[in-house]
Amino acid sequence: MAESEFVYVTYIRTTPEKLWQALTEPEFTRKFWANTVQECEWTQGATWKIVVPDGRAADTGEVVEIDRPKKLVLTWRNHLFPEMEAEGFSRMTYVLEAKDGVVKLTLTHTMEKKDSKTIKAVSNGWPHLLASLKSLLETGESLAGTDKWPEGI
């Protein structure tokens, strides 16, 4: 393989619009996404960033494709870890599909590079984020600890 990639799927009892809000809006992301917010105008070509509580931009990129509430494609580059920053931009895609009161969320993250450190790092973090997102939307509560930025990073 000339690239590193993962595809994660989760089913969440919600609507595509609510899931879209949860993935993009500060009042939701603060609760399950380690107290981070995303700054973006959410239009094609707009710049995008994840801002951590102390104000640093952890990840930045651009909106490649947006079709609310069905599909979002972002370029994604980490800036907190030099070895990940050096790899440049990866590509992250959300696809939301509603069926019978459940939304299937497919998350794909790709880097055109074998054994990418960025992909390895984000692939470890996403399952817990997704579980917390699911919990937040289905029960109103995110998983314990996921509303805090981890110390020392």
Binding site: Y8, V9, V102, A131
Partner: protein, 112 residues
Amino acid sequence: MTLMGADVDLVFKALAAPERRLLLDRLRADNGQTLTQLCARMEMTRQAVTKHLKVLEAATLVVTRWRGREKLHYLNPVPIHEISERWIDKYERGRLGALADLKTKLEGKKNG
């Protein structure tokens, strides 16, 4: 927490066969393989691999996506994570990780 669409029974059933766990191991080592690539390294017929992959897909432990004319298979760890969330407290994770490391050091392997 409920496992919608990926019924928890389907996940346990899918994990209950060594052949299917082996397929997941192969995908963990090299994610995004075609059926042909997966078959090349298995001592199973193509039909048997196809059958096992269907069970894994029903449990969403394996998800597929098309790239051109190739259907690629990916390990989806999300249902397993949801199961672990159900019984493992976040404060226990560190201790369990330490135990797993110790076991790996003593036994010199990861798979069981």
